[in-house]
């Protein structure tokens, strides 16, 4: 079977006052109908990788790739207009900052309704019911009240759940989720991930799950890429993340506190140590 997404030698470059800097440097991977986790420290280029698949890297950033194909469609030659058709319908992305991605002067309900109506024309009466049903599906109690709130009036975790709900409306073939659950408690998080999981199993959706929660990624995904300074430094099956060998990955794992933590100080990444290695 043809993989859902094929990426070869992806590069993202930003011009700066001191010459060009590559923030993604030759990333290659293929994604089937599976859950792929991307982890790595802040600034390692995880979000940029996700955005470049949708061609959402803002100018002056530039994207190059030897191959960037989604379901046999060559994305690198697609025009902005053709991308827009793909974006909503077949590839969705949950952006990292829900508060920045939501319109601050429109209520949650209005925004979900707008997202619904761009994909399907619905009778007016049904729109409200659908909006409430969607809020309920991401475990938001009192959907009527929350639909009337503005983004700054919902809790951090609610904002994230609203974003997820909106991105799942078109039932995409590929979902790129950029830290979608970082503000959720573990119980709601598990329930929300189940919803995504259900789409992966039922519809064969592909999932790219960007996160810094290594524990979560290793228990939820099938495969994991570890990124550092724009490169993939390690790739492994999810269950084996804790046995990773690269010193960078080991450094990240060591700095996670444990449930029965008794250390007085957490080890932090010693960049110099592994850079030489």
């Amino acid at each position: 079977m043809r993989p859902l997404l094929e990426i070869e030698n992806l590069r993202v470059t930003f011009p700066t006052t001191r010459g060009d800097t590559d923030v993604v440097r030759g990333v290659s991977f293929t994604l089937g109908r599976e859950r792929l986790g991307i982890v790595g420290e802040s600034g390692s280029g995880k979000s940029m990788t996700g955005r470049s698949i949708l061609k959402l890297v803002r100018a002056p950033g530039r994207v190059y790739a030897d191959k960037l194909a989604f379901d046999g469609i060559d994305l690198s030659t697609r025009s902005e207009k053709q991308m827009r058709a793909l974006r909503g319908a077949r590839i969705s992305m949950v952006m990292q900052d829900p508060k920045f991605s939501l319109n601050p002067v429109m209520t949650i309900g209005e925004q979900i309704a707008e997202a619904l109506l761009t994909h399907k024309s619905l009778p007016r009466r049904e729109v409200n019911d659908r909006v409430h049903a969607m809020l309920e599906s991401v475990r938001i109690a009192e959907p009527e009240r929350v639909a009337r709130l503005y983004p700054h009036e919902v809790s951090g975790g609610m904002g994230q759940r609203v974003m997820i709900a909106m991105m799942l409306i078109p039932e995409p073939d590929l979902l790129i989720a950029d830290e979608p659950t970082s503000a959720l408690d573990v119980s709601v998080q598990a329930q929300v991930l189940d919803i995504i999981d259900e789409l992966v199993r039922r519809k064969g959706m592909g999932l790219i799950f960007i996160s810094h929660d290594l524990n979560l990624v290793s228990s939820y995904c099938d495969r994991i890429l570890v990124m550092n300074t724009g490169e993939v430094v390690e790739e492994c099956r999810a269950g084996e993340l804790m046995n990773a060998t690269h010193p960078y990955t080991r450094g990240l794992i060591a700095s996670i506190p444990r449930l029965d933590e008794t250390r007085d100080e957490l080890p932090v990444l010693d960049r110099s140590a592994w850079a030489k290695a």
Partner: protein, 246 residues
Amino acid sequence: MTALSLKDLDISYGDTQITHKVSLDIAEGESFALVGESGSGKSTVLKAIAGLAPQWTGEIRVLGKARSHGVDRDFSRVCQMVFQDPYGSLHPRKTVDATLGEALTIHGIGDRNARVEEIMASVGLDRKFRFRFPHQLSGGQRQRVAIARALMLKPKILLLDEPTSALDVSVQAEILNLLKRLRREQNLTFLMVTHNLPVVSFLCDRLAVMRHGRIVEVASVDDLRRGDLKEPYSRELMQISAAHAT
């Protein structure tokens, strides 16, 4: 002495009541965690204490003194808050120096230069960051600036709303170490909201579990480490956390 005591706190926004009879006592120098369901009102409790959610009934006492409903200047010297999102909590057009110096100007405190440098050193920010704008800082550096701003007036109590949930694990470790050291050095009292039980285990002495606007359980961190929580909901949270860690 109790640093912070809440009694039968009911907080509302408009007609909706968010919390129901929240009562807590936090001793001076203690580090107390508030965990629980998303949307259960944890941030709201912190906001009410800080004065950003003025619509409440019940009692809030800070260092023995009853708290008024709004934001006031005297209170700002006693208690400060660090927000969850390091990207949203710094003014995009102000340099680190301006952000940190603001507190001094407001309260007419002199010696600005030395104070700013001192606080930057204590949160581990190099001097070269002093005149940078937020967009020139990483998430972890921004959070350090936010913590430094909160410490500028030398408060006794720090309210922390998910201070590390937007940060990666290695930066989270740095910030947690920093908070632990600051608390030891300045004898601070922490009230921290978090979703991450291992973080509670590392940084806190006690925790309260919230759900649907109520506190369902208060336990010590030793109970958490031993897996000795009583309420079914707390146990559920604990078990999922434990399952991830294996």
